[in-house]
């Protein structure tokens, strides 16, 4: 049991309580089981003991969802100019640089096309490691272009949400990304192309109040925090403690906001079945029903 003692100290690091990047062992925050990092990876970062879903990076997510773990990537070179010259204590530019260093991305999403069980799809996968997955002008443009790509190629769109909401440091421009993406999704909707929102932990704020809630289907991972206002803001407003499980996937399912809560290990299959259902009739457009003939009353 000597490995256990060695593993213990890094596990207790406060900055990363549930993940030890340099270590081989991870303690599950839900069941306290000590997990072997390699096993966890193989198990799509789901605890083999209690099914706790650890957070995935945007690239891990794409690798898990797409056939052969392969995809074509788009719009990787878009980056924020810091349009507000936002000077907080840690200037926004430094945060952008730190996010880029941590993730290898220029902003908080990867845009891809690939196949799920042979079906061609456009997928945007959000990266929590880049400033909390926050939605700024680049994320807005990346998703809008993905919607337009889906429209042009007539393929389904999936967005895997993982975000604390709009990016404060881009001010009202980040707020407007909600409108921009939603307008693009209106066109996708009218073109009768499938859009599936996958909601993972966390999906909050302006992301929830736009593309996360505009899917033909809303599929969430178990136990994900999903909501508009953050729990702390709500507690401050109503001056009472929130009930256990509030704003978790299961709570939203119960209140009619989700179609399903799906274990990550079954997500790919569920997506494939969903897309098949929604694309089967695409070859034959639905005709407008003929006007009813007036019938004599009686």
């Amino acid at each position: 049991m000597s490995w256990f003692k060695k593993a213990r100290r890094p596990i207790a690091t406060p900055a990363e309580p549930s993940r030890v990047p340099e270590g081989l062992w991870i303690k599950c925050p839900s069941c306290n089981q000590i997990l072997y990092e390699k096993d966890l990876e193989k198990n799509l970062r789901v605890c083999g003991s209690c099914s706790h879903h650890f957070r995935m990076s945007a690239a891990e997510r794409l690798a898990a969802l797409l056939d052969e773990g392969a995809w074509t990537e788009y719009d990787r070179n878009l980056e924020s100019t810091d349009p507000l010259r936002f000077g907080d204590k840690k200037p926004y530019r430094d945060r952008l640089a730190a996010g880029a260093a941590a993730t290898g991305l220029r902003d908080a999403a990867i845009s891809a096309t690939g196949r799920i069980d042979g079906l061609e799809v456009a997928v945007v996968s959000m990266e929590y490691g880049f400033i909390g997955g926050s939605m700024g002008v680049v994320v807005g443009e990346i998703i809008t272009r993905a919607v337009e790509r889906a429209l042009e190629r007539r393929i389904p769109l999936i967005v895997v949400c993982c975000s604390g909401g709009a990016r404060m440091m881009e001010g009202v421009l980040s707020l407007m990304q909600m409108a921009k993406i939603s307008a693009a999704l209106a066109r996708l909707d009218r073109a009768r192309l499938p859009y599936i929102a996958v909601l993972t932990d966390p999906t909050t704020g302006g992301v929830t109040a736009s593309y996360a809630m505009l899917g033909d289907l809303h599929i969430a991972e178990p136990g994900a925090l999903i909501g508009f206002a953050g729990p702390r803001v709500i507690e401050q407003t109503i001056r009472q403690r929130l009930p256990a499980g509030f704003q978790r996937s299961e709570f939203l399912l119960e209140h009619g906001m989700l179609d399903m809560v799906v274990d990550r290990r079954k997500l790919r299959d569920t997506l494939a079945r969903s897309i098949r259902f929604m694309t089967a009739s695409q070859a034959e457009p639905v005709a407008e029903p003929a006007p009813l003939q007036a019938e004599p009353a009686g």
Binding site: D88, T144, V172, L173, A179, V233, F246
Partner: protein, 328 residues
Amino acid sequence: MPDLLEFEEPIGVLQREIEALRMLPRTKERQAEIERLDKRVDEVRREIYGNLTPWQHVLIARHADRPHALDYVGRLFEDFEEIHGDRRFGDDPAIVTGFARFGATPVMVVGHQKGRGTKEKIRRNFGYARPEGYRKALRAMKLAEKFDRAVVVFVDTPAAYPGIDSEERGVAEAIAVNLREMAMLAVPVIVIVTGEGGSGGALGIAIGDRVLIQQYAIYSVIPPEGCAAILWRDAARKAEAADALKIRPDDLVALHVVDDVIPEPPGGAHTDAAAAAALLAPALRKALDEVAALAPAARRDLRYQKFRQMGNIGIQEAPATSREQSAP
């Protein structure tokens, strides 16, 4: 007379002097002095309002005496008939909807309503709308679309209501659906931000062919207090946050988020609602006429392009690194 804000205290000093003089028996000299002081009040007000800090601007946008949607409805429109309810759950008094005439033009009016006086403020939840408010708004707008009527929206809210019931009934979904559906409305939509354009709660009824903002209103992704609390763990640094967030009309025009700024009377709309309405009327008329002249499909395309470009001002294309160039 509206309550003075702290930074307006020099006006208060003069006003108290005037009051004191008015209490005394009237003489020619006193009358001249009162007139001189009245002029001085105007000068001081112009000076203060000409040099507002962003935080002072926020305080004016939130002023309790700022005209609300129904104040403008009463001054700008005729034959207003309020309509109620979302046909799903209830009627949210934080958003009012109804039809009216603007001159000869029939319009559907949608607006946040903060309420004035304690009882009314509570009834209207201080302008914090719940999901049923957003759903009522969309129902009203679809009604307008069905009968080919323009929509006029007044935006003035701190935020969508952050409460348990609001979350349970899907406030995020309600706002999201409004964003999508307003983008597709076939009729003219004119949005006027009259006070606080508070985040998603404002945006949820603010998709239009024209987005106008009054001179002392704001539009922000987060309240400055919230921004300061998150960034610096210190809500007291709200003034810095108000500056950093670029939430004033001139900033918003520069960022291509709003189309035009509607002037207010010298001391702000809260000092003279009638004058504020008189300044608003021609701006609304011009916007409505311009937008109504377009064919519905062209109008919808332009509205799409308008929101499609938002934020692009803050994006650049980095040169691809060699590693990326060699990737498939």
